[in-house]
């Protein structure tokens, strides 16, 4: 088609003609490929399904659904152009990174391997699905204004809960790693790209596809299992569960690949002088998250393969009457599930500890301790999974062990609090929007964490397991923790990413409404749980009606508050477009020393790092990096 610009000279990047853009691989062809693939796969699947004993002669068509989704996935990726490169390699052609050679709007709608483009694509995708899942939450709360399933019927209610929980956890586990991780990690460690740019793009499109596949569960009859997908309920459910399984598998693959990419990048791509103790704490947060992702996601994938085989090939992994066991799913799911919840926590720790020093104008207090805390959390999180199964009767005699390890996680987590307190000591705090969100993180997460300690105590958990107390606990840690941190991160880094100002006034309005209504929504639910309200029910004891109506109203206000974020983004970034200076917060870390928005190649020359990122108040401090080193250094920092 066009001549390929050589990447060793950034000046010659070319833009393609409109015709070239439309005819080349892009999202349109991806969608077409996905749909055609689904139809073809489904058709083949019905033929195969007729030969499988359990399926012939029933209305079950899981083989067809799975095969449709599988072929559809390949169609989608093919339409986006993901197979051009592997096919080329199979023909023996050398490695190139041609997908990167473009500028202009179109690259946002196609396979692009520029980490900054992928970051923005990720951000849009994740926010979109976050709002979809949030909208589901609004419908859940709408139904719970009635104590007897009058608004939404039970089946649809369960589907809503499942969609909300699964979508939120899927999207939020990629919610920081994807957008902020891909965008910022190279900038923060002084690299021009991530280690595996094509895999980076793949993870993005798999995430997008996973969101869409999950939503397709609605068309397939919904699913009754919540986000935990317990077997044998999942064996029994209708086609919607296939969408749940398939999308969760896609996310699992995507997460593991993101983890591999981030970790490799951090190990091999650091600029000279970016020694281990100069790596920004945010990058450490993502690195530890990546460890969890690489090791935990495959377990989820394995469990899903088993569930899928149970449903399609008639195996009996989870059927106790046929030599299987439901406990097998419970074990595997939570072996993944608990690290998963820390995949949701660690990036938050990273963000708030990155932001606090900037607005406290002080070095991060206890950097090594913070890193140690993160590693401690990551390690321990593999040893606690049966605290979700305290009353299940599985290994009941190991409960003291799991109680102890679970409570032990409070120690490394507490270190994050200590770091924050040390950093705030005699600080010069500026109450900017990111800072407000970061401070609120500690307020909320404290409540969430302490309630977790209640749950980890077996006698207490006997009352609260499966009740709204658990639900309040994890909304305090996830919504109050991770999402508040994500908001802090967005308000902090969007000016760098877009080069535009965010409205401070709307930001503060967003913060205060979100903070207040978040707490009024979820705090009363601790009480609801203790008073005996089970989770995942659309009808409940009438004595709890007033409480639930209050919570629902608060939740709607919380939803309105989230809309302020949208308004702010549209107003500031699309309508007003007021230019922001390169370093509005006067931060010292590397990414803020670059122009905004960041040029295609990030760094003119690979910088040489001279100091850590938090030297606030240090006398005679040197600039963090020499951005135009005279000697082209070749050694990666050690």
């Amino acid at each position: 088609m066009e001549a390929h610009a050589t990447l060793t000279s950034p000046g010659t990047i070319e833009n393609r003609s409109l015709r070239g853009q439309v005819l080349g691989f892009n999202l349109i062809w991806g969608v077409v490929g996905g749909i055609v693939g689904y139809i073809v796969g489904h058709w083949i699947g019905t033929k195969i399904g007729n030969n499988i004993a359990a399926q012939s002669g029933s209305d079950q068509d899981d083989v067809a659904i799975f095969l449709g989704m599988l072929v559809g996935t390949f169609g989608f990726l093919g339409g986006l152009g993901f197979f051009a490169y592997p096919l080329q390699r199979m023909r023996g052609l050398p490695a190139t990174l041609r997908e990167r050679e473009e500028i202009g709007r179109w690259r946002y709608f196609r396979l692009c391997t520029d980490h900054k483009v992928v970051g923005i694509q990720y951000l849009v995708a994740v926010l979109f699905f976050f709002f979809v899942a949030g909208f589901n939450a609004m419908m859940i709360r709408g139904e719970l204004t009635s104590d007897n399933a009058t608004v939404i019927n039970s089946g649809n209610y369960l589907t809503l809960v499942g969609l909300h929980g699964t979508m939120m956890l899927m999207m939020m586990s990629a919610g920081v790693l994807g957008p902020l991780g891909n965008y910022l990690v190279p900038l923060m460690i002084g690299a021009r790209r991530m280690a595996f740019p094509r895999i980076e793009a793949l993870t993005l499109w798999l995430t997008v596809l996973a969101g869409v596949v999950l939503l397709s569960a609605i068309a397939l009859g919904g699913f009754p299992t919540g986000w935990t997908g317990y077997a044998p309920l999942s064996d029994q459910a209708r086609g919607g569960i296939d969408a749940y399984l398939f999308s969760f598998a896609l996310i699992g693959i995507s997460l593991a690949l993101v983890g591999i990419n981030v970790m490799t990048t951090v190990v091999t791509m650091r600029a000279p002088g970016m020694t281990w103790n100069r790596i920004p704490i945010f990058v450490w947060g993502l690195t530890t998250t990546s460890i969890l992702a690489v090791l935990a996601a495959p377990v989820l994938a394995a469990a899903i393969i088993m569930a899928a085989l149970d449903r399609t090939a008639d195996t009996s992994f989870f059927l106790s009457s046929q030599g299987g066991s439901p406990f097998l799913w419970n074990n595997l799911f939570w072996f993944f599930g608990h690290p998963e919840v820390y995949i949701l926590a660690l990036p938050g720790f990273g963000i708030v500890l990155e932001i606090l020093p900037v607005f406290a104008r002080k070095p991060l207090w206890g950097y090594r301790l913070a890193v140690a805390g993160m590693f401690g959390v990551a390690l321990l999180s593999f040893m606690v999974w049966q605290h979700h199964l305290f009353v299940s009767g599985i290994n009941a005699n190991l409960r003291p062990f799991y109680m102890f390890t679970t409570e032990l996680i409070s120690v490394p987590t507490g270190l994050i609090f200590l770091n924050a307190m040390g950093t705030l000591w005699k600080a010069r705090i500026r109450f900017t929007v990111p800072m407000l969100f970061s401070l609120a993180f500690f307020f909320n997460f404290l409540i969430g964490g302490i309630s977790g300690v209640f749950l980890s105590d077996v006698p207490s958990d006997v009352t609260t397991h499966g009740s709204y107390f658990v639900m309040a606990h994890f909304h305090y840690t996830i919504m109050g923790g991770l999402v508040f941190a994500l908001m802090a991160g967005l308000y902090y880094w969007l000016p760098k990413i877009t080069g535009l100002k965010m409205s401070e006034r709307l930001g503060k309005l967003h913060f205060w409404t979100m903070f207040v209504f978040f707490n009024t929504t979820f705090f009363p639910l601790f009480a609801a749980g203790l008073l005996g309200m089970p989770r995942r029910v659309s009808s409940y004891n009438p004595s709890l009606h007033t409480l639930n109506v209050f919570v629902s109203v608060s939740a709607f206000c919380l939803g309105a508050s989230m809309l302020i974020l949208l308004v702010n983004m549209v107003w500031s970034l699309i309508l007003k477009r007021e230019k922001e200076v390169a370093n509005p917060w006067e931060a010292l870390s590397l990414e803020w020393q670059l122009p905004s928005p960041v040029p295609v190649y990030n760094f003119e020359e690979i910088p040489v790092i001279n100091s850590g990122p938090y030297d606030y108040g240090v006398p005679d401090r040197v600039p963090i990096a020499d951005l135009e080193p005279t000697v082209t250094g070749t050694e990666v920092g050690t």
């Binding site: 207090w365 409070s410 000591w425 009352t463 606030y616």
Partner: protein, 293 residues
């Protein structure tokens, strides 16, 4: 604790107020006020309410103890953050850097030791609650419970069978009779053997403080000793499909005499049906229903 309240205590200049001391005092005052409030004012209102069974009474105590232990931690964080936010501010338009303090290892170690000790204490306390009171705190313990009622007591065996979406209760000591409502005698140990015929459920007798998952192919034992007569709710605490929210029932705690006559009446009433039931077994293996709706 108070040592941890003043990280970076070095670097206090002349004329500066003694922030550390102020925080420590505020924290101490708050704790001293809040702890009794939590124990004696809020405490009695924390569910589950005591008095229905040994188990729910214990769980109530545990919750009060945990909350009391949490108060100093929460108070410390709130006081510290509140103080920092109101005192350590940027004043004036110019951005001023704070003192570049390094982390004092003594503070770090103190904090680590204090939190570790607290955690250890919590774990020991929880384990004692689980085993020493010899009933596993009312939670499901699986087929071979380690924590059993005191020797000599002969628990009443009741099998709890979950199925979409109802509960059935079977009394193996009384010819394996099955009933749709649950009755147990007061002041006698009861052993619930919880199992399921289809998907996972969870047997939750809220007032009794009993929760045990009902898993197909598994015999999950939970003990309770009801202390008062009266009604209690039974519901399902594990998502089991469409009518999970409606899988409710009631049970009654009655005195021993009333129980004997009740169960005798049931045995008679259901004798014809009992014969057609599968023989009593710890678990049942009905054919898997792949699609139930």
């Amino acid at each position: 604790m108070s040592a941890a309240a003043a990280p970076g205590g070095t670097g206090a200049g002349f004329g500066e107020p003694r922030h550390g001391a102020r925080i420590a005092v505020a924290w101490a005052i708050l704790t001293v006020i809040a702890v009794p409030l939590v124990i004696w004012v809020a405490g009695p209102h924390i569910p589950p309410y005591s008095g229905h069974s040994t188990q729910s009474s214990d769980q109530h105590t545990v919750n009060v103890v945990l909350l009391t232990a949490a108060v100093p931690v929460i108070a410390l964080i709130w006081v510290y953050f509140g103080y920092a936010i109101s005192v350590f501010r940027q004043r004036g338009p110019e951005i001023v850097d704070g003192p570049p303090l390094t982390a004092d290892p003594r503070i770090q170690i103190t904090w680590l030791v204090v939190t570790s000790v607290m955690v250890l204490a919590l774990a020991v306390y929880g384990t004692i609650g689980l085993y020493n009171d010899s009933h596993g705190a009312g939670g499901g313990q699986g087929p071979n419970p380690l924590s059993t009622p005191p020797a000599g007591s002969t628990p009443l065996q009741v099998q709890v069978i979950g199925q979409q979406w109802l509960w059935t209760f079977r009394y193996p000591g009384y010819g394996g009779v099955e009933t749709a409502t649950l009755e147990i005698p007061a002041n006698r140990w009861v052993a619930f053997h919880v199992t399921s015929l289809d998907v996972d459920h969870s047997f939750w007798a809220y007032e009794l403080g009993v929760k045990a998952d009902a898993i197909p192919g598994s015999d999950n034992v939970a003990y309770v000793k009801a202390t008062n007569t009266g009604q209690f709710q039974v519901r399902c605490a594990e998502l089991c499909g469409l009518w999970h929210g409606h899988m409710n029932s009631y049970g009654r705690v009655v005195n021993a005499g009333a129980f004997s006559s009740w169960i005798a009446a049931r045995q008679q009433q259901y004798s014809a049906i009992t014969k057609t039931l599968p023989p009593y077994s710890k678990v049942y293996y009905p054919d898997p229903i792949r699609r139930a709706g």
